[in-house]
């Protein structure tokens, strides 16, 4: 089968790899019909996540058709069209039982801090991902969810990560009616977080980024105020100024380790890897939020340390809330929102690329070329 093959920082190709096999009685094999490149895949692509091994296949956002099931699989059957949450979750451990499906304790041997994630390095369990024709899906009784009749596959594939992550970013913000919410980052998750902030009753939603076409997209899609931080002397002062010098009630970091905007953070975090990525967005979020406010973090960082103003967290009495998204917990509500037309995820998709052109797709997405917001990969076996 064809599958993406990681060869080193900023080097990927398509290769023939063996078909995945059932390794566990709760496994399923899914034939992929759509997968995406996520902003967090760029941390792997750039070589910033430790234990990203050559030969691995990335891809944690995918949908497909169940082709084979293990002996203990009961919740899905061969032929089902399923969307697969990016978390590998057992449903039995104490964390899954609390709804923390992103923190499963039975899906990652290599690290205790994070649960298993498809196609996301051995630090997240060493699972091959969905940027391929076929993929092994463990715990098929828990994660895979049958796509409702009539749902557009482009909507379905974005329900595996982008929509729930944007939604959880807003949810973790504890937004109260009338709150001012600032979202750092106008990538797909940031745009979705801005859109979802309204669902929780935000009174004002502001997005900051440096890429003009993405800001324009956010303005129209969310809809919200959107500003280019490259045109500001200091984004924190800007936020203070436009919030009566109080700061925002809620700040959301939807950027993570690839943030621009601070030379010190960029050099130490992205170029020299002296910290676990550039924490510029988180730094700004902490300093832009109101005293007693909430900072919600869905941007992905590496497992080591970052330079953030923790003293200001204490002095301002800020609550920081963060997690890998618990996709399964949120799916029922979000499927409703998509079916009722409250959310329109597929509008984020700007590029549909054959899986065979994956190297070009990564280059284009990582360099934000051709007004790219979200790229969907179509495997050859799904084109018919």
């Amino acid at each position: 089968m064809l599958a993406m093959n990681y060869r080193g920082p900023r080097r990927v190709r398509i290769d023939h790899k063996p078909y995945p096999e059932i390794k566990h009685p709760e496994d399923a094999i899914v034939r992929v019909t759509r997968s995406c490149i996520c902003g967090s895949d760029l941390h792997l692509y750039n070589g910033n996540v430790p234990d990203t091994r050559v030969g691995m296949t990335f891809g944690h956002e995918f949908i497909g058709v169940v082709e084979v099931i293990g002996s203990e699989v009961e919740k899905v059957k061969v032929g089902d069209n399923v969307l697969v949450p990016f978390n590998v979750a057992c449903g039995k451990c104490v964390f899954c039982q609390q709804g923390l499906f992103g923190n499963c304790h039975e899906s990652n041997t290599q690290a205790s801090a994070v649960g298993g994630i498809f196609g996301y390095s051995h630090t997240a369990g060493g699972y091959d991902g969905g940027q391929a024709e076929y993929v092994r899906v463990p715990y098929a009784n828990v994660g895979p969810t049958v796509i409702p009749e009539g749902m557009d596959p482009d909507d379905a594939v974005l329900l595996t990560d982008v929509v729930p992550t944007g939604y959880q970013a807003a949810e973790m913000g504890g937004i109260q009616p009338g709150d001012t919410v600032v979202v750092f980052g106008a990538g797909p998750v940031g745009i979705m977080a801005a859109r979802c902030a309204w669902l929780f009753g935000a009174g004002r939603v502001i997005v900051l980024d440096e890429v003009e076409y993405r800001l324009e997209f956010a303005r129209n899609y969310a809809p919200c105020e959107a500003y280019n931080f490259k045109e500001m002397d200091d984004p924190v002062v800007f936020i203070k100024k436009i919030t009566d010098w109080m700061g925002a009630d809620v700040c959301i970091d939807a950027v993570g380790a690839e943030a621009s905007g601070s030379a010190l953070q960029t050099i130490t975090g992205r170029k020299l890897l002296l910290q676990a990525g550039s924490a510029t967005a988180l730094h700004w979020a902490i300093n832009s939020v109101k005293k007693g406010g909430i900072v919600s973090v869905v941007g992905v960082y590496g497992p080591t340390d970052n330079l953030v103003p923790i003293g200001n967290v204490v002095n301002k009495g800020i609550t920081i809330r963060a997690n890998q998204t618990s996709v399964k917990r949120l799916l029922p509500r979000l499927i409703e929102h998509v079916q009722n037309g409250v959310l329109n995820p597929k509008a984020l998709i700007t590029h549909r690329v054959p899986l065979e052109d994956i190297a070009d797709a990564y280059y284009m997405f990582s360099n934000k070329l051709d007004n790219c917001i979200k790229t969907v990969l179509i495997p050859p076996s799904a084109k018919g």
Binding site: R7, G8, R10, R11, V12, R13, K23, H24, P25, E26, G47, P50, D51, T52, R53, V54, G55, M56, T57, C90, C93, V94, Q97, Q98, G99, L100, H105, E106, S107, N108, T109, Q110, A111, S112, G116, H122, T123, G125, G126, Y127, D128, Q168, E171, M172, L273, G302, P303, T304, T319, R321, N323, S326, R329, A359, D360, A361, Y363, N367, L369, D370
Partner: protein, 168 residues
């Protein structure tokens, strides 16, 4: 067995407020052992264990291999040796993460050697997506090439001048 009887502590739990939970609503608390004895935090009915038929490096912060695990790329070669060394330290130590980053870079070279061993010359330009660069970012690509040529030329010139100095 955990002791769940706090009757000897005056005032135990009198101000407990289940609604005062900053993790609401993204974490549903489960009833603690004071009301329901099972499951406790570290004692759940484990899923069937996936057979451990490949080498799986295990974090020393957990007692067992997880019930399922990925089989993407077991450790091999020099990078594998470095990874095995890294897994002697906890996730809290730089001694864990820095060797893993080093192993990743060594693994990249191993990947090229492995390609050559199998008679495959890697097409680095295609793997870097330079077709897209040529189509959408020609100026940036040419700029990068120019900078690369200038830096390489400067390095070669510097090394040659040092060599000729040492020869005289």
């Amino acid at each position: 067995m955990e002791n769940n009887d706090y009757s000897h502590i005056p005032g135990w739990g009198i101000d407990a407020d289940p609604k005062n939970d900053p993790t609401y609503p993204y974490r549903h608390r489960i009833e603690r052992a004071t009301k329901a004895p099972e499951p406790s935090d570290s004692n759940w009915e484990r899923p069937t264990q996936q057979p451990v038929d490949i080498e799986v490096l295990k974090s020393i912060e957990r007692p067992t291999v997880s019930a399922v695990f990925g089989t993407s790329a077991p450790p091999t070669g020099l990078s594998g040796q470095i990874r095995r060394f890294a897994f002697k330290s906890s996730e809290s130590e730089y001694g864990h993460w820095l060797p893993l980053l080093l192993a990743d870079r060594v693994n990249m070279v191993e990947g090229i050697l492995d390609d050559l061993k199998h008679g495959h010359i890697p097409n680095i330009f295609a793997e870097k997506g330079l077709k897209a660069a040529w189509k959408y970012n020609r100026k940036g690509l040419l700029q990068s090439i120019l900078i690369g040529v200038l830096v390489t030329s400067a390095a070669v010139a510097l090394l040659s001048s040092k060599k000729s100095e040492s020869d005289t």
